[in-house]
Symmetry: C2
Subunit: 413 residues, 2 copies
């Protein structure tokens, strides 16, 4: 992609008044644009990051047998009345149509997925299974803050599992937990599985927390096991559920996922039953599993940045290579850059090519701001040596590489 | 995918009361499930079709330089007041939050994309460009009908183009039109570009109509050119805009796309201006381009079905091969089917493998209902000959093919 044609402009100052690192850098870099408090548009660079995160999540959910579905955002009021959440969930957006229909705007999908399973489950042979979706969610938050970390509209992956008994739920719950840790690890984050309350869903839940100084939660992490407890359930005498020791360090965490054992909670509201092996009617046992996709994008920026801009992990970076032409008006430099660009594309690399007519200082500052993993600079100096200058965004030193050795270099990365 | 584990069950009767072909077959096949009037969930089979349609659309929009973005569903009331559509568009869903904020729930995105472009456009050098998204849309329809053809919540691809003058818009408009015809052609549909009124957007528009007997529009098609006029702008003396002749046949069409020249309409509401080459301020000229993605899925079913079920075009089929094991309780048949399944997967084919313990009649009827292009049957008869029976869903005759020749056969398809 030629940067001169890219929809999105960098800016030296963040247009919005949100002081969080992720809001400032994502808006300045032209990844997102704030539409209003807690509501963002994703520009091409930001959408590429979002889609890459979604694809990793999708792969890992498929790997544990999750089947992708897509449920609507408009939910019938009746289903939310059935579970008591029409009046019980204060962040629920409610819509009244001009014809008198009333809808909830989905903040989560238990009220849709549970009745959906009714015509599909009749016997124990129909269990277990898990379905998930990647969908926009809505919450009527009293206060929004911290860019993508807490919005009124955001992207979520939500999975729901259905089981014949608690033992089967427990087994899948641990597999889902392992898949979560793997998902976060793949995008560069060491998540800490953290015990917490279950809110309206269940007695307890497990959160997946990323340690960052600006994290909204106080968590206590076992010094032996790297598992945690949220402050809300922590007591001085708490022992680690894994090693049984009482040796904690306090930290700040930002939650990127959470998993709940719903047990019969929603299934009993909707009379979701099956016939067991003995021919007896039983209530289905459920679990639910969320990952905040857009929140994850914000947390990545909070975790991976320096004073100059974002430093994207390669797997979610909008492009792998940022090719920057500093031609200083010299035609042979521009021509050399175009050649390199074509060669890189031919090799199948994802390249953002900065062909804009701007000063070297501006272009290099923009490159740092965008945080693409590998920067290749073509300038009069490099052209003289038939080379390009390369620098990893996460590293310090720049080096020269001969053009003909470049593909060799890239293949070794 | 093993059909025994697939989330979704076929049924002999359509659960909903919608008499349209697409609603009946899509619900019976377990592609979609009706949540309430005009609102559907997509089950794994249906979502695969939807995603395949989206990918073709995405490829063709990228091919004409469209850049993918993602805008929110919650829109600020102020923007809709600015364009006069807060009170002027009767199908607009409105939301009032418990904190007194008012939002529109996006039925289209001119009110977001136009102000979004303001910080990005300043000079003629920033033009032209086109951005698009694939997003859920909401319309407070008084009456919903015909399954996926008219809903309150549906999937759309909407593109917006920005130009310095009308000539540039006209040029892009024709490129977009050609891309639309190509998109529909690739998924098996001969769309007819049909002149129509522009509604609230513009004086005229061009619709892309698919001829089906159940189509909701009456259209007149030039007998020479295969371009059309919608009844709403047709007169007895109308001449074809291409060949200038007056020779029409009346037909029924279902609209799957429409394109509009907005000209300065929305840009002037939001003061979207640029500085031209002479240093003068000018209003940006815009176009907008929609494709009803979920509607297209419904139209495909209306077009491609028989009394037994859907007949998916290969490019959007949920799977390419339906492998059906009719083992009649014989272990060696099941084993042979498993072997074939593994071999097909190894070759990279998308296979739905019907490993369910059901009667041959039920399984073959389900196969016809699901409409997967190629059916491979393994039965005691075929195992004896070390072969499988193959049948194209769109064809009549079944044939036997030796197992070892199967990959050869598949590579020739």
């Amino acid at each position: 992609m030629r940067q001169s044609q890219l929809f999105g402009k960098t800016s030296k100052t963040a247009p919005s008044d949100d002081p969080s690192v992720n809001a400032r850098l994502l808006e300045r870099g032209g990844f997102v644009q704030k539409v209003m408090a807690g509501v963002y548009s994703y520009l091409p660079l930001g959408l590429r990051v979002l889609q890459k995160i979604e694809n990793v999540v999708r792969q890992e959910m498929n790997a544990i047998g999750g089947q992708e579905i897509f449920m609507p955002s408009l939910h019938p009021k009746e289903s939310w009345v059935t579970t008591g959440r029409w009046s019980g969930l204060d962040v629920l957006f409610k819509i009244k149509s001009r014809h008198g229909h009333e809808y909830a705007l989905g903040p989560s999908h238990e009220e849709v997925v549970t009745p959906m399973a009714r015509p599909i489950i009749s016997s124990y042979k129909d269990l277990p299974f898990a379905v998930y979706q990647i969908q926009t969610k809505f919450r009527d938050e009293p206060r929004v803050k911290s860019g993508l970390l807490r919005g009124r509209e955001f992207r979520m992956k939500d999975m729901y599992s259905f089981h014949a008994d608690a033992a089967d739920l427990n087994e899948f719950y641990e597999r889902a937990s392992a898949a979560y840790l793997k998902t976060f690890k793949r995008i560069g984050l060491d998540a800490i599985r953290t015990e917490a309350t279950g809110g309206t869903f269940s007695e307890f839940s497990d959160e997946f927390q990323i340690e960052i100084p600006t994290g909204e939660d106080t968590i206590y992490i076992c010094k032996n096991c790297e598992v945690g407890k949220n402050k809300e359930i922590f007591s001085e005498r708490a022992t680690c559920s894994r090693c049984k020791k009482n040796s904690w360090r306090a930290s700040r965490g930002s939650e990127v996922g959470n998993i709940f054992k719903l047990k019969p909670k929603y299934a009993s509201s909707f009379d979701l039953i099956f016939t067991d092996k003995a021919g007896k009617k039983q209530i289905v046992i459920m679990g639910c599993y969320g990952i905040g996709i857009s929140r994850l994008m914000g947390v990545l920026v909070e975790k991976f940045h320096d004073e100059k801009g974002v430093i994207w992990p390669e797997i979610v970076a909008p492009f792998f290579i940022h090719l920057v032409s500093l031609d200083g008006g010299q035609e042979r430099v521009g021509k050399f850059a175009e050649e390199i660009w074509r060669a890189l594309q031919k090799q199948g690399h994802e390249v953002l090519y900065d062909d804009r007519e701007l000063s070297p200082g501006t272009k290099l500052a923009d490159s740092d701001l965008l945080g693409i993993p590998l920067r290749l600079v073509v300038s009069p100096r490099t052209v003289e040596r038939e080379s390009v200058e390369y620098k990893l965004r996460a590293g310090q030193k720049t080096q020269l590489e001969k053009e003909r050795e470049l593909s060799n270099y890239l293949s070794k990365l």
